[in-house]
């Protein structure tokens, strides 16, 4: 309920200080962090190349799903709509993607079905939270519970994909690069698509008219409306289209990452995506950096279970991403100067 802080004279000036002017202390820290990280990875690679490559591959694999969910969340939140239904959107679209791919024998049709399901669920969230002005958190919870119920009801244990999942494509000489070659440039197609979407959405959100309008309706919908932006309409479009990103995430989960569908297979990653979004300050590139960090904790978990170097029970390693999220969210509140979009969570009523 913080007061709007003087921005919002019009869509052209409504963006808060997201520009790249100068070197803020925060930027110095992130560059320093990146340098340390690269040095560490290089060190580990020199020490044990095979294992480092495996962990990095796992990191990218987990990060792809998280960043797709985070991008879905940030488009909604920048428009002023909280989406905690990403988990349900993942699950439902993973289910339809898997089922359609299994019936039709085409992975591509499966992806189309997954994205369509995501769009449909995004529209449902918009209809509830924008149209019917239901509390947004409850609306998202409805999506989660509905997805779990529907996918369990229609779940067919005997069904299999009937074909191999999406396979890796080597990007020519790039894949032969040391250290990052295999992890980044020898991946299956949806991973590349997600990476492209990260860059495209980043530019769109921070540089395009649409991005500024989106920020405007999330910060001060009343002011946005006075300069001629149809707040309700844009919120509908954004939340629906954002659902398509989560839908792609669901398709990625079922058809590329795992290659099958199991009950409740999203496993909380739709919620982790929200933490990734907050950590990444609601920018796609920031979210991808955060997703890599979270993906790393997941990849470590897998690697710890494979070898006996560290004798830590699987359950404690499994807790890691969730504990990290709690610490991140608490620390963001304590130390960060992160600010939510001013109109986040509040329904907009046309008077």
């Amino acid at each position: 309920m913080s007061a709007p802080d003087g921005t919002g004279a019009g869509p052209a000036t409504a963006t808060p200080s997201l520009g790249m002017r100068g070197w803020s202390p925060q930027r110095v820290w992130s560059v320093a962090g990146a340098v340390v990280l690269v040095a560490l990875v290089w060190g580990f690679y020199a020490w044990d190349g095979a294992q480092t490559t495996a962990v990095m591959g796992g990191t990218v694999r987990a990060a792809t799903l998280l960043v797709l969910g985070a991008m879905c969340g940030m488009v909604g939140e920048r428009s002023g709509i909280v989406n905690i239904g990403i988990e349900g959107q993942f699950l439902m679209s993973a289910f339809t993607a898997f089922t359609v791919a299994s019936i039709s024998g085409s992975l591509f049709l499966g992806v189309v079905a997954g994205v369509s399901t995501g769009l449909a669920m995004g529209w449902m969230l918009a209809a509830m939270s924008v149209g019917l002005r239901t509390d947004q958190i409850i609306a998202g919870t409805v999506l989660n519970i509905a997805a779990l119920g529907l996918t369990s009801f229609f779940y067919d244990r005997g069904r299999s994909l009937g074909q191999p999942k999406y396979q890796s494509i080597e990007l020519g000489p790039l894949a032969d690069l040391p250290v990052v070659g295999t992890a980044l440039f020898n991946r299956p197609p949806l991973t590349y698509l997600a990476l492209v979407l990260v860059v495209v959405l980043h530019v769109l959100l921070l540089r395009s008219v649409w991005g500024m309008r989106t920020t405007a309706i999330g910060e001060h919908p009343g002011a946005a409306a006075t300069v001629g932006i149809d707040v309700i309409r844009l919120r509908y479009w954004n939340v629906t289209l954002a659902g398509g990103l989560a839908g792609l995430g669901g398709a990625y989960l079922a058809l590329e990452s795992v290659g099958t569908f199991t009950r409740a297979m999203s496993g909380g990653r739709g919620f982790l995506a929200l933490a990734v979004m907050i950590f990444g300050r609601r920018t796609p590139l920031g979210a991808y950096a955060a997703a890599l960090f979270f993906g790393f904790t997941t990849a470590l978990q897998g690697q710890f279970q494979l070898n006996d170097t560290f004798d830590i029970p699987a359950q404690f390693v499994g807790m890691l991403p969730f504990v990290v999220t709690i610490i991140v969210v608490a620390a963001a509140g304590l130390f960060g100067r992160m600010r939510d979009p001013a109109a986040l969570g509040q329904p907009y009523e046309v008077r």
Binding site: D135, F271, F322
Partner: protein, 357 residues
């Protein structure tokens, strides 16, 4: 009475709509709706055994519903019922099987209390973080659910695992007879505790100074602070009370129904609390019938599958539909041609706000 009817109109219509759409789904799958719903009711209330099952199922649901409803009064959305219930169930079972040679009058209350306290501690983490750092309780409680799932799995698979015979399942040994919650005929004592808890919640919220402060914080946090109420303390303690309720529900599940804690058995119970609390309009007394309704559907689901071949997961779908209609009351209001009054209970179902303070 008119007021009760008006308050119940939307939830009751939502239940009917949910059941009707569920019937459509059953018919589309080529099953008989009458035999399916008939078996559902018979399986949940047809005889003493069925009634016992329903009441046993309803007990943790009532506690889970109270855990959500109580926090809601302070404007907090407790999605952490699942985790609070799990730690309550695990720790109650731990005390239940671990202590030997203790009389029932000491053992049973102690086991219950430890379970409830574990749940309270789990809930308090989210409350304290919310009060001190502004970390949103929705994110923190969701994450704590996963942490609790892992923690209790580990407890049941390692230090507290049942080593008797050739057991390899991640579960504790059976609790001692001195820690078992009794069942009187068709009436499980745990359900009596659930009813008492619901009335206690109502009393605390409506008839005590503390309850007034909780509701004030829920109505307007800033006004409450201005009025001299310690908002941080109210938020932290409310989450602890919510966790206490869910933890007690888990403890009763271990001590009165399952007789032990087993990893992965109680999954999902915590989330149904959300449906129940919203169906009850966050009124603690109304949580009892809402819990009974869902409990009946769950108790009858097995018989329904046996007699008419409908997958028991239809219950989850119907619950989700009911939740949808309760959460978006404008659909039902339009159907019933009810006027949207500014003081209607639906209007109070708002949590608003973003992730920060």
């Amino acid at each position: 009475m008119r007021a009760v009817m008006r308050a119940a109109a939307v939830p009751l219509t939502s239940v009917v709509l949910g059941l009707v759409l569920g019937a459509v789904l059953i018919a589309v799958q080529g099953h008989s709706v009458t035999s399916a719903y008939g078996a559902l009711v018979l399986g949940g209330a047809g005889d003493a055994d069925a009634l016992l099952r329903t009441l046993q199922k309803a007990t943790p649901l009532v506690f889970g519903g109270l855990a959500v409803a109580f926090a809601f009064k302070a404007g907090l959305f407790n999605i952490g019922g699942q985790g609070q219930l799990l730690v309550g169930a695990a720790f109650a079972a731990g005390v239940g099987f671990g202590l030997e040679g203790v009389p029932l009058v000491v053992h049973l209350p102690l086991a219950l209390l430890v379970g409830a306290a574990a749940g309270a501690a789990w809930g308090a983490i989210a409350g304290v973080l919310k009060a001190t750092s502004g970390a949103h309780e929705v994110i923190v409680t969701i994450m704590l659910n996963f942490v609790a799932g892992n923690l209790t799995d580990w407890l049941a698979a390692n230090p507290w695992q049942d080593r008797s015979g050739s057991n390899i399942i991640a579960r504790t040994p059976l609790v001692q007879p001195s820690a078992e919650i009794p069942t009187w005929g068709w009436l499980p004592a745990g359900f009596v505790l659930a009813v008492i808890a619901a009335f206690a919640c109502w009393f605390v919220l409506e008839r005590t100074t503390y309850g007034f402060e909780v509701r004030s914080v829920g109505a307007n946090r800033h006004a409450a602070r201005y009025a001299g109420i310690s908002v941080g303390w109210i938020m932290a303690s409310t989450m602890a009370v919510a966790g206490l309720l869910a933890g007690a529900g888990g403890a009763i599940e271990s001590l009165g129904v399952d007789g032990r804690f087993e990893a992965g058995v109680n999954v999902g119970l915590g989330f149904e609390g959300i449906t129940i609390a919203l169906l009850a309009r966050t009124n603690p007394i109304a949580v009892i019938p809402a819990g009974l309704l869902v409990g009946l559907m769950e108790a009858g689901a097995a018989k329904m599958q046996f007699e008419s071949g409908v997958a028991p997961e239809i219950i989850d779908v119907i619950q989700a539909l009911i939740l949808l209609f309760v959460a978006a009351p404008m659909i039902v209001r339009w159907l019933l041609r009810l006027r949207d009054r500014p003081d209607s209970p639906d209007r109070r179902l708002t949590l608003g706000a973003g992730w920060g303070r």
